[in-house]
């Protein structure tokens, strides 16, 4: 995206580094349990505590899941990858170094996103495994407290090439990446739980030369990422406009003040003193391992997106909603399989069900309405036994009970009134009760037609077929 300042056009160059926790039962280099809400320092051992004399032992599942991710991200897997030490001091880093990879498990992958100009490939530079650190808690007591339960949990690091142009693309990329990760079930990628962390690198320039980049940390939601990138681009442009130079540094996003701030550090560029991890041999990945993981990859978001649009002739926005969660698209397709109408199912899912879940802040898995429910509901619509409004209200009522549609409709007596005689009777009543309005309508105030419809529907508890009501009302009024 180009930003114009006076006569000068600035363009931004963004690369994103994502750390995703890998869903294993034990840690990366030791057998301690991985569990989000354990009492502090209960999932620790000599190895992840960095005691004297311990050595790392690689978790097979972590590697398998990393292979699966690499395949899903279209990356080339290195049959031999090398572990390395990244040396620095921080209280949550037990050994004084983090075991990461120098030659990564995979390289040169990509993710396809939808932009306003069509599909775009975001190139992924490298994918590798490493270990997480412990967690620090800051108190008001002039001390900080450390919980090492998270120390040693496996992480997948995914780094893009600097090919992202603006915050919108960044969010599309992150959304898509997160979808893929959830589709292949290597992590729940919940940002609030710290399972999916984003660090954008941002630079701006007036020409083809790349500007000095900064890195932004402490982003705890996609919204924060979007705002931070936007803010940082502006900040850098402002500096350049004034003739200054951007300093290469790490910035922290301040959620309260909605600005990026310098991380005060006396050391300048950190010396990580990378060298090959002498306690581990090169990681060998075989064709068997790769083929095993290939089998476990389902249809991925972008493919599903394209297929759904084509097969069901649905729009971009609806398709995006359906593919956001691997379960939703399946749910949709199942409902069609069971006989539900496409338009109806789409509307119910994207508007009503999503709305219900958002409002109650519950996850999709809490939903008790099944594709069968939708199909049943559709049958009633198709046969004009209920109208859309009723259908929608039924969804709301059975969302978390899962009560059968048939039962519910019967018990609440919701079958639409289609009997002409009964409707006419009601319409007559409405007109009787509102003589002034009738007079005004007949004098030319056509807007009151809707009023009469509304009143009639109200009297019938909303259960009448609107089409029939409209027709009959028209006839009756015309006769007057």
């Amino acid at each position: 995206m180009l930003t114009r300042r006076g006569k000068i056009m600035y363009k931004a160059t963004i690369g994103i580094e994502v750390h995703s926790q890998i869903k294993t039962r034990s840690k990366m280099f030791c057998s301690c349990k991985v569990e989000f809400l354990s009492a502090p320092n209960t999932n620790i051992c000599s190895i992840c505590m960095g005691e004297p004399g311990v050595l790392p032992h690689i978790n097979e599942k972590a590697i398998m899941l990393a292979i699966r991710a690499a395949l899903a991200l279209n990356a080339r897997i290195n049959k031999k990858s090398i572990f390395a030490r990244k040396n620095y001091y921080y209280p949550d880093l037990t050994k004084g170094y983090q075991i990461t990879q120098s030659i990564p498990l995979a390289e040169n992958g990509y993710v396809v996103i939808n932009t306003e100009n069509g599909e775009k490939k975001i190139n992924i530079h490298r994918i590798h495994v490493e270990e997480d650190t412990g967690k620090l808690f800051h108190t008001n007591d002039k001390v900080s407290l450390i919980d090492f339960n998270r120390s040693g949990v496996p992480l997948l690091e995914i780094v893009t090439d600097p090919v992202i142009k603006n915050e919108k693309e960044a969010i599309s990329y992150l959304k898509r990446l997160r979808q893929i990760i959830r589709y292949i079930d290597i992590s729940d990628a919940d940002m609030e739980k710290g399972q999916f962390r984003c660090e954008p690198n941002i630079s701006v320039s007036k020409d083809d030369r790349r500007g000095i980049k900064t890195e932004v940390k402490n982003l705890n939601s996609l919204k924060a990422v979007e705002k931070a990138i936007k803010y940082e681009i502006e900040r850098q442009i402002n500096i350049l406009e004034k003739g200054g130079k951007v300093i290469q540094q790490t910035m922290l996003w301040d959620e309260k003040e909605q600005v990026t701030k310098t991380m005060r550090s006396k050391e300048g560029i950190t010396e990580y003193r990378y060298f090959k991890e002498p306690d581990l041999i090169p990681l060998i990945i075989t064709n068997e391992m790769i083929n095993e993981q290939k089998e476990l990859i389902p249809e991925l978001p972008q493919s599903k997106f394209n297929r759904l649009m084509k097969e069901y002739n649905i729009g971009v926005n609806e398709a995006e909603i359906l593919i956001d969660n691997p379960h939703i698209a399946n749910y949709f397709e199942k409902s069609i399989e069971k006989g539900c109408g496409i338009k109806e199912s789409l509307g119910w899912i994207t508007t009503d069900i999503m709305g219900i879940l958002n409002k109650s802040e519950k996850k999709f898995s809490y939903l008790k309405i099944t594709p069968q429910h939708l199909s049943d509901l559709y049958k009633y619509i198709e046969n004009k036994l209920i109208n859309m409004n009723i259908a929608k209200s039924i969804l709301h009522k059975i969302a978390f009970t899962g009560e059968s549609v048939d039962k519910y409709i019967k018990s609440k007596n919701l079958i639409q009134i289609t009997d002409t005689k009964s409707i006419e009777k009601i319409i007559d009543e409405v007109l009787e009760e509102n003589p002034t309005e009738v007079k005004r309508y007949l004098e030319g105030n056509n807007k009151l037609f809707g009023f009469f419809v509304g009143q009639a529907m109200k009297k019938m508890g909303g259960k009448a077929n609107p089409g029939i009501v409209n027709k009959l009302l028209k006839d009756i009024l015309n006769r007057r």
């Binding site: 039962r25 502090p40 051992c45 505590m49 031999k80 090398i82 407290l145």
Partner: protein
């Protein structure tokens, strides 16, 4: 990864010039307080050691650079661990070894906001 430079063999070259700042920077990175005496002494020792090494490289006609293929090993197996969680039954001793621990959390002086990772 950090920027990695290639240095050429140069016995008297700039790259291998070691001065007080180098020792001080190393001490800074290694988190060890040094006295001025220690800094002077270590500077001389370090100089000697690196010079000896560069002589060795020259004698053996080996170039000083970063390229070394660790990949050459003809390994056919990988030692991977099954993903089965296990309880380490000595957590109590870990707590006992801790210099400062409160409610099972390790205690350190507060980390200033600006220096947070």
């Amino acid at each position: 990864m950090g920027s990695l430079e290639i240095c050429k063999t140069n016995k008297n070259g700039g790259v291998m010039e070691i001065n007080k700042e180098d020792i001080e920077k190393s001490a800074n990175i290694a988190k060890i307080y040094l006295t001025q005496d220690e800094i002077s002494k270590y500077m001389i020792d370090l100089k000697n050691m690196t010079e000896e090494f560069l002589d060795t490289l020259e004698d053996l006609n080996i170039s000083l650079d970063m390229n070394f293929d660790f990949n050459i090993t003809s390994l056919k197996y990988t030692n991977l661990r099954q993903d089965i969680p296990d309880n380490f039954n000595n957590i109590e001793t870990i707590y006992k070894n801790a210099p400062k621990i409160k409610n099972n959390l390790f205690v350190v002086p507060e980390i200033l906001k600006e220096n947070k990772k």
